[in-house]
């Protein structure tokens, strides 16, 4: 097994900063904005971006996390109560501009599941997608609106995103 760091701590921070600025650029000051992180690492990234927005705009943006393990199309038994959303969260997404946040965009199946889940519980005004890494190999017609870093990869390679909260460091590595 070989591994190679493709984003170090500093570049990871910069990527999140740039995504934050671009979210502001396309959302006119964060009105009606809700950040939804896809568990596990997407949730931490959502909080990072949320903190950044709060630093800049002095507003607190709702941040939610969803767990889509049960919504993947490769899982048959869908259970909408198992999304990790409470009823207040469900109400909150209606008519909001949602930014869905994940660490890696690969086949697109996770995102599709997240979209299904969100639409299943409410009716957002819009949904856009932010990912830290886009590694290609899409299997669905999904593309990210905000990309931290495009990292073209081979199918056999793995992308591992580390976040300080649970992994003790911020980095992205390619693992062979």
């Amino acid at each position: 097994m070989s591994k190679k760091e493709v984003l170090d701590n500093a570049s990871l921070q910069r990527a999140l900063t740039r995504i934050t600025y671009e979210i502001i650029e396309r959302n006119k000051g964060g009105q009606d904005l809700v950040l939804v992180g896809i568990k596990t690492r997407g949730e931490y990234l959502a909080h990072r971006i949320g903190n950044r927005l709060a630093q800049l705009e002095d507003i607190s943006i709702p941040i939610m996390a969803i767990d889509v393990t049960n919504f993947r199309d490769d899982v048959t038994n869908h259970d909408s109560d198992n999304l990790g959303l409470n009823s207040e969260d469900k109400m909150n997404i209606t008519d909001k501009n949602i930014v869905l946040i994940d660490d890696v965009l690969f086949t697109g199946r996770t995102i599709r599941a997240a979209l299904d889940a969100l639409i299943h519980v409410g009716r957002p005004k819009s949904i856009s997608l932010a990912v830290l890494v886009d590694r290609g190999h899409r299997e669905l017609p999904i593309r990210a609106d905000f990309v931290g870093k495009n990292i073209p990869t081979a199918q056999a390679e793995h992308i591992k995103v580390f976040v300080k909260e649970i992994d003790g460091k911020d980095a992205v590595e390619i693992i062979n």
Binding site: A10, A15, Q55, E57, V147
Partner: protein
């Protein structure tokens, strides 16, 4: 030979002459940077200024081929405490003293620069003159002198030129740029076209830029023609834009913000600058006589990205609707810390995003 520095407020300092024995007038400012004297005196941002160095000895690193920020220094004088004569070029012929002589710039050493700086700290910048004799005639002349406000015209290029590369096409609008900007663009292998500040929207768009840089430059940006602001207003909607120093001030003006002259100008590399979004601190060379007035910012157009943690002054702005941003400090590290060179990485990331966006 003993010569004199006289300030508009009547204060006189005696010192030993070095460089050219010329009589000059300029605005006097003090600089606290401990290294980088060659870069500082050749940076067009100091056009028409007399610079007092806080660092006790100047000249010990010689004059290097790789440390010019412009081909021709246009400062009006250099005041130091102690002067070292060291040559480092292959001919062993060029040192600071000879360099200033060559460009007809006077210098004074053996001056109580700490006293002078403590004085300027209280009075703020003012007119000053380097003369042989500090008599009434010299003082009258200083008072009567009106310093030029055409510093950008004096230092910026009048003709477009290219600094070719194989990467993204970056158009630099030149207001008296420092070479550090071109060096940084070169690090990204950018294909650079430098345009005079009198250029037009059509000229720039015909070049089909992937990104636009508003360069550093000297003086008060408010004396530049309105056409410059119009140019910026249009170009910021067309391609990613980065403003630096004077370019930052112009970017602010173009988006309806106003400038305040600083009571005490700030020239150095010791202030922490906070990137607000990440709360990270960085240090960079700063050379500013003006700051953007925070009260004047239209929150629908701009937001503040960087501030000086010492005096709170705005150090960075970003447009709310376009990938356009600017920094008051000099992120090119010539001279100065390399902490903020990531500003260029941010710019090129934005350029890549833009190019991809346009293509798809």
């Amino acid at each position: 030979m003993q010569r004199h520095l006289i300030l508009e407020d009547g204060t006189v300092f005696a010192g030993e002459s070095f460089g050219a024995p010329a009589t000059t007038f300029g605005e006097i400012v003090f600089h606290t940077a401990m290294t980088g004297y060659q870069e500082i005196i050749t940076d067009p941002v100091y056009d028409n200024q007399i610079i007092v160095f806080a660092t006790p000895i100047v000249g010990a690193a010689g004059i290097h081929a790789g440390a010019y920020e412009s081909m021709k220094p246009t400062i009006r004088g250099m005041i130091v405490h102690d002067l070292a004569e060291v040559s480092v070029n292959r001919q062993r012929r060029m040192n600071l003293d000879r360099f200033l002589k060559q460009h007809n710039i006077p210098g004074l050493y053996h001056v109580d620069t700490r006293k002078l700086i403590r004085h300027l700290r209280e009075t703020g910048s003012q007119k000053a003159s380097i003369v042989d004799f500090a008599d009434d005639h010299a003082k009258d002349q200083l008072v009567a002198t009106v310093l030029t406000n055409k510093q950008v015209a004096n230092t910026a290029t009048v003709k477009p030129y290219a600094n070719p590369g194989r990467g993204r096409h970056i158009v630099v609008i030149d207001f008296g740029l420092k070479h550090g900007i071109l060096r940084m663009l070169d690090d990204y292998d950018a294909n650079v076209s430098v345009m005079p500040y009198t250029t037009t929207v059509e000229e720039v768009l015909t070049l089909d830029p992937d990104g636009i840089v508003l360069s550093t430059g000297p003086g008060d940006p408010r004396v530049l023609p309105d056409s410059v602001l119009t140019l910026i207003r249009v170009l910021q909607t067309k391609a990613p834009m980065l403003g630096i120093g004077l370019g930052h001030e112009l970017f602010a003006l173009a988006n309806d913000a106003e400038l305040l002259p600083l009571s005490s100008e700030h020239h150095g590399m010791n202030h922490p600058i906070e990137e607000i979004v990440s709360r990270q601190m960085m240090y960079a060379m700063q050379g500013q006589g003006y700051a953007v007035d925070p009260e004047s910012i239209d929150r629908n157009k701009l937001f503040v990205t960087h501030r000086d943690l010492v005096d709170g002054a705005i150090q960075g702005l970003r447009h709310r609707d376009y990938p356009a941003f600017s920094v008051q400090f000099f992120p090119d590290g010539a001279p100065g810390p390399l902490d903020a060179t990531t500003i260029f990485a941010d710019f090129f990331d934005t350029v890549e995003d833009y190019v991809e966006h346009v293509q798809s």
